[in-house]
């Protein structure tokens, strides 16, 4: 991201921070969900966009985070903040194991293994009824207020700010990560893994690390979703969600961090608008997705910044 875009992003965050003063409660609900999904999609971008690790099972992170925070809030009386971050941490730790296994393979086999682990968790969520509530899921998840004046975060608006803070924090973390020496190695893996190994990098370690971070942040998104919606169910671990989040990343623009957040918002908007017109909204969205892949593989953000850059180039090369 070029420096010229930084002021723009700051303005966007300010606008989001002021949104509760202008938007009706119904819109705030949608916006909160969009930000949660944005966080989820951005976390996948670390793997998909920056490392070319194509996950077909990122719902595993979301669902695990959601179930973990839901369970903690329901059964331990843990305050909201601790439950949410604890669940994200747990997801990241589990992901070290998942990453270790999945990176035994590369390419399509890697993708299939991520899917397999998500399906495994999906099956567990059905069978382990005493913890997961089986097909009913976990319902009535409270937003338990905390001891240090964090009670404000449990209101509808307060929770929105919590989500916004998590998204901004996660964005800054990812931004620092992809621009660090670690991120340079990820780019190396993306462009030519064999050469990266030949240069002396143990690429598998880097891949496991990025899987862990991506899952932890995806888990954070899920951990926010459970107290947002008040429930966690098996759909949060279903492959459909894994596919949808991939679509959000691609439509928004992979390898940009910002793009996938836009992609998530766009996905929600389309789902909302199209489904009010037609039952078959998924079909129409599928067509939009195909159009993006064919005509704008750089995604929404790529289109937008491409325009900007072209304008600047034209100005720079002008007389």
């Amino acid at each position: 991201m070029s420096a010229a875009l930084r002021p723009l992003l700051i303005v966007v965050v300010l606008v989001l921070a002021l949104a509760p003063f202008g938007l009706p409660p119904f819109a705030m609900t949608l916006l909160t969900e969009a930000l949660i999904l944005g966080l989820f999609a951005m976390s996948l971008d670390l793997m998909f966009g920056y490392t070319r690790l194509v996950s077909f099972g990122h719902a595993a992170a979301y669902g695990l985070g959601a179930y973990a925070s839901g369970w903690l809030l329901l059964h331990t009386g843990m305050p909201l903040l601790f439950a949410v971050f604890g669940a994200a941490l747990l997801t990241g730790v589990v992901a070290i194991g998942i990453g270790w296994m999945c990176t035994l393979a590369t390419g399509v086999s890697f993708s299939m293994l991520t899917l397999a682990f998500a399906q495994l968790l999906y099956a567990i969520s059905f069978k382990w009824t005493s913890v997961t509530g089986g097909s009913d899921g976990l319902a009535g998840i409270p937003r338990t207020p905390g001891p240090f004046g964090f009670a404000a975060l449990t209101s509808k608006i307060g929770f929105y700010y919590l989500v916004l803070a998590c998204l901004v924090g996660a964005f800054l973390l990812c931004f620092a990560l992809v621009r660090s020496p670690f991120g340079a190695v990820l780019r190396g893996i993306r462009e030519n893994e064999a050469k990266t190994i030949a240069l002396g990098y143990n690429t598998r370690l880097y891949k496991i690390a990025v899987v862990a971070v991506a899952y932890a942040l995806g888990g954070l998104a899920g951990a926010l979703y459970a107290p947002f919606a008040g429930f966690a169910n098996t759909e949060l671990l279903f492959w459909l969600l894994s596919g949808q989040v991939l679509i959000m990343v691609i439509v928004g623009g992979s390898g940009t961090l910002v793009g996938p957040i836009l992609g998530a918002a766009f996905f929600m908007l389309m789902e909302h608008q199209l489904s009010s017109w037609t039952e078959a909204w998924a079909l129409y969205f599928g067509l939009i997705f195909i159009a993006f892949v064919l005509f704008a593989p750089q995604g929404i953000w790529g289109l937008a910044t491409g325009r900007l850059q072209m304008g600047r180039l034209r100005r720079a090369s002008g007389p």
Binding site: R187, G188, G200
Partner: protein
């Protein structure tokens, strides 16, 4: 401990690599002294690239022993071998096409940075790696094109960039697999001039695979000839040139 002067930096003994029934390397014994430029020549399929793969750990030898700087490295994973100080270039150009030449070389240098895993040391790692990278690019005359994406460089510059990347790692041994492969006559002449100057200045220990005999005779101190995986001659360029078996197997066959 004082090291006897005749101990080689790189020492191969009985190194064999089989692919099914095919013997790609057959009991190869070879000693490369520090500061030496050693050419490895042989017809297509002689096992030259396999030799590099086995030394760098990309491919495990079926049998034999490889020692580097008094340490057995046989069977170590390639990233560990690389870290001990062996860097290579590939016969088929291997770069990061979307990164600039500077970023390519910086990523190479970063691999040897002692703090590369340390969080919050990013700025320092980048700075120190970039300094090594820029020096290597300068050595190979690439400073002028350093900010261009590697994928858009001329083929000749890409070949030299690979050498610069290897050099940015400050290796103790440099393995060059046909650095002039696919270059036009003029490009080859230029690249060889650059390489000759650079080898003269750096006194780097080099293993060089090269098909162009003029290039070999110009750059190498010593030549090893492989034929069907086996070493059939090993010596100073003039000796090798005069060797009847080499004439038979290789030089004669080419002319």
């Amino acid at each position: 401990m004082h090291r006897a002067p005749d101990v080689a930096l790189l020492d191969l003994d009985g190194v064999t690599r089989r692919y099914g029934a095919l013997v790609a390397l057959d009991q190869v014994a070879m000693r490369v002294e520090e500061g030496e430029v050693r050419a490895v020549i042989g017809p297509n399929g002689a096992g030259k690239t396999t030799l590099f793969n086995v030394i760098t750990g990309t491919v495990k030898p079926t049998a034999g022993l490889i020692r580097f700087a008094d340490q057995a490295i046989t069977g170590l994973p390639s990233h560990q071998i690389c870290r001990l100080g062996i860097s290579r270039t590939f016969q088929i150009t291997a770069l990061f096409p979307e990164m600039s030449a500077r970023e390519n070389a910086r990523l190479a240098a970063q691999a040897r940075h002692p703090r590369r895993w340390q969080p919050f040391a990013g700025a320092r790692i980048f700075k120190e790696a970039q300094a090594l990278a820029d020096a290597a690019l300068e050595q190979l005359g690439l400073s002028g094109i350093a900010d261009r994406p590697a994928g858009l460089l001329s083929h000749g510059d890409q070949r030299l960039l690979e050498v610069a990347m290897a050099m940015a790692q400050q290796p103790r041994v440099l393995l060059l697999d046909e650095p002039t492969q696919g270059l036009s006559v003029e490009e080859t002449a230029q690249a060889v001039d650059t390489l000759a100057r650079f080898l003269q200045a750096s006194r780097m220990t080099v293993l060089l695979v090269e098909h162009d005999m003029e290039v070999v005779f110009r750059l190498a101190h010593r030549i090893t000839v492989l034929h069907r995986g086996a070493v059939i001659a090993d010596g100073a360029p003039d000796e090798v040139k005069a060797d009847a078996r080499v004439q038979d197997a290789y030089l004669g066959g080419l002319d």
